[in-house]
C-alpha cells in the first residue's frame, strides 16, 4: 500500500518546525515515530499534504528528574522508556505501559509524545498519564521574544477520538509527571488479544498513602470511551480507606460503571465492562503492593 503524495520537510530546529506548521496550514502533520501516522496514510485514512519530520531535532529525547517532576522529552522512544533504569526503579508504571505498546520493533520507533499527541483513546500512555496527573508542555509560535510555551493538565488535553488541545501550529514537547513521594505505588494493566493489538481494555492506578490510609488515588481507563476516562468515583471510593479487598471491589465496580465500551470484534460491551472491573481491581492491588514495598 502506497501513501498519498506529500512534501517532506526536515527542519533543523523546533522553531523552524513550528513556523512550517503555521505556514503549511491544516494539511501538515508532524512525523514523530510515525507508527500511528504512516499506517493510517497507507490505508488513506490520513492524507496530509506535508509531513514535518522532527526526528532530526536535538533536545527532545530525554528522561530526567527536575524540580519535583519526571520530565520525558516528546521524542523519547518507547524502547528507551522500557529499558531505562530510572523508570524501572522509580516509575515502574511507565515500564508496565511502554512494554505492552505494540511490539518491540514498533517500540524502537514509536515515541511517548506521539502516543499522547495522536489522541487515540486506544493508546496506552494516555490512561497512565491521567492516573499520574501528568502535565503536557506545548510549544507554539511566539513573537519577537521567542516561542510561546504553555503547560496544561492532562485532564484538559484529550478532547475526543484523535482530538487534543494541540492547535494546528503547536507541538507537544514534554510530558511532566510529579515525583512520587512517600508511600506510593502505581501500575498499568492491559488485556490484549495478542502482542501488538490495541487493548480490549486497560486500567491504570496510582495510589498515595498516608500511613495505612490512601490519601490520593488516580484511576484511568484505556479504550472504553472517546478519550481515556478518569474514574473519579472509583478514586473517591478509595481515598481515606485502607484499600482492603472490599474497598477494591467497590472501586472497581465504580470504574466499570463509568466505562463507555462499545461492542466490537474485541468483545461485547458487557464483556469489556467485566474486563474493566477485573483490570481495575488488579491494578489497584498491584499499586497498593508496590506502595508497601512489593513489586
Amino acid at each position: 500500500m502506497i501513501p498519498g503524495s506529500f512534501d517532506y520537510h526536515a527542519p533543523a530546529t523546533l522553531d523552524e518546525a513550528i513556523k512550517l506548521l503555521g505556514e503549511l496550514g491544516e494539511d501538515a502533520k508532524i512525523l514523530a515515530g510515525g507508527h500511528s501516522l504512516i499506517p493510517m496514510m497507507k490505508l488513506r485514512l490520513a492524507e496530509p499534504t506535508n509531513l514535518i519530520d522532527i526526528n532530526g531535532l536535538s533536545g527532545l529525547n530525554y528522561i530526567k528528574e527536575e524540580n519535583g517532576y519526571l520530565c520525558i522529552g516528546a521524542m523519547t522512544r518507547e524502547a528507551t522508556l522500557e529499558t531505562s533504569d530510572l523508570i524501572a526503579e522509580k516509575y515502574p508504571i511507565l515500564k508496565d505501559t511502554s512494554e505492552v505498546i505494540a511490539d518491540p520493533l514498533v517500540r524502537n520507533m514509536a515515541t511517548v509524545g506521539g502516543n499522547i499527541a495522536h489522541g487515540d483513546p486506544a493508546n496506552d500512555h494516555p490512561a497512565t498519564m491521567v492516573a499520574l496527573g501528568a502535565e503536557i508542555v506545548i510549544k507554539g509560535p511566539g513573537g519577537i521574544l521567542g516561542g510561546r510555551e504553555r503547560t496544561i493538565a492532562i485532564d484538559d488535553f484529550f478532547k475526543g477520538p484523535l482530538m487534543t488541545a494541540l492547535e494546528q501550529n503547536e507541538i507537544l514537547t514534554e510530558i511532566k509527571i510529579p515525583n512520587p513521594n512517600g508511600k506510593s505505588g502505581a501500575t498499568y494493566k492491559k488485556l490484549e488479544r495478542k502482542v501488538g493489538d490495541y487493548a480490549i481494555a486497560g486500567a491504570a492506578a496510582a495510589l498515595q498513602f498516608d500511613g495505612d490510609n490512601c490519601s490520593s488515588a488516580g484511576i484511568a481507563l484505556t479504550n472504553v470511551g472517546p478519550t481515556p476516562i478518569r474514574a473519579t468515583e472509583a478514586q473517591d471510593a478509595l481515598v481515606g480507606t485502607s484499600v482492603s479487598s472490599d474497598d477494591i471491589d467497590k472501586a472497581s465496580e465504580l470504574a466499570a460503571a463509568v466505562a463507555q465500551p462499545v461492542g466490537d470484534h474485541r468483545g461485547s460491551e458487557e464483556y469489556k465492562r467485566a474486563v474493566v472491573k477485573i483490570l481495575t481491581a488488579r491494578a489497584i492491588q498491584t499499586a497498593k503492593d508496590r506502595a508497601e514495598g512489593g513489586s
Binding site: I2, K42, D103, P104, L105, V106, N108, M109, G196
Partner: protein, 160 residues
C-alpha cells in the same frame, strides 16, 4: 510529485536515488536496489517480515519512509553473510528455524538486534524479542532454538 535525492548506506554500499517523498524504505530496498531478501508480508506494521536494521536498530521498513533513512546505515538480510553464514543464519538452518521461510529474514534481523543488546538472552527474552515477528509455520519453538544456537556460537567466538 515531490522528490528528494537520497543516499542510504545499505550493507556497506552507498546507494543513491531520486525518490518520491512517499516512497517506503522497503520499496527503496527491494525495487530501487533489487535486494529482495527483505520481504513484504502484511504491509500494515504487524508481521515484521520487512524488518531491517536502521543504524543498528531493528525497524519495520514498511513503516519508515526512504527519505528518513537518508545519510543513515541500513542492514538487510543480504548484509548478514560475511566469509561464512552468520551464526544466526547457520542457527536457522541447523535448528530447522523455518518452514516456508517467508518470515525468516525479518526474524533474523530482529534476532540480530536482540543479540547485539543482549548476547545471552533467556528463552523468555528471545520470545519477547521476536514478538513483533509473526511466523505461521513453525510454532516458534525452532526459531527460539535457532537464536539460542547463534547466541552460544557468538559467545564461543567473541571476535565474531
Amino acid at each position: 510529485m515531490a522528490t528528494q535525492s537520497i543516499t542510504v548506506n545499505i550493507n556497506g554500499e552507498a546507494k543513491s536515488a531520486e525518490v518520491e517523498d512517499r516512497l517506503l524504505l522497503v520499496h527503496f530496498i527491494r525495487d530501487n536496489h533489487g535486494l529482495t531478501g527483505t520481504h513484504i508480508g502484511c504491509d500494515t506494521t504487524h508481521c515484521g517480515a520487512c524488518t531491517v536494521l536502521l543504524d543498528g536498530t531493528a525497524v519495520k521498513s514498511c513503516t519508515v519512509f526512504a527519505v528518513q533513512a537518508n545519510g543513515r546505515e541500513v542492514t538487510t538480510i543480504e548484509g548478514m553473510e560475511g566469509e561464512a553464514l552468520h551464526p544466526l543464519q547457520e542457527g536457522f538452518m541447523e535448528e530447522h528455524g523455518l518452514q516456508c521461510g517467508f518470515c525468516t529474514p525479518g526474524m533474523i534481523m530482529s534476532s540480530k538486534h536482540l543479540l547485539d543488546k543482549n548476547p545471552n538472552p533467556t528463552e523468555e527474552e528471545i520470545r519477547w524479542g521476536i514478538s513483533g515477528n509473526l511466523c505461521r509455520c513453525t510454532g516458534y519453538l525452532n526459531i527460539v532454538k535457532a537464536v539460542q544456537y547463534a547466541s552460544n556460537k557468538l559467545q564461543e567466538t567473541p571476535t565474531e
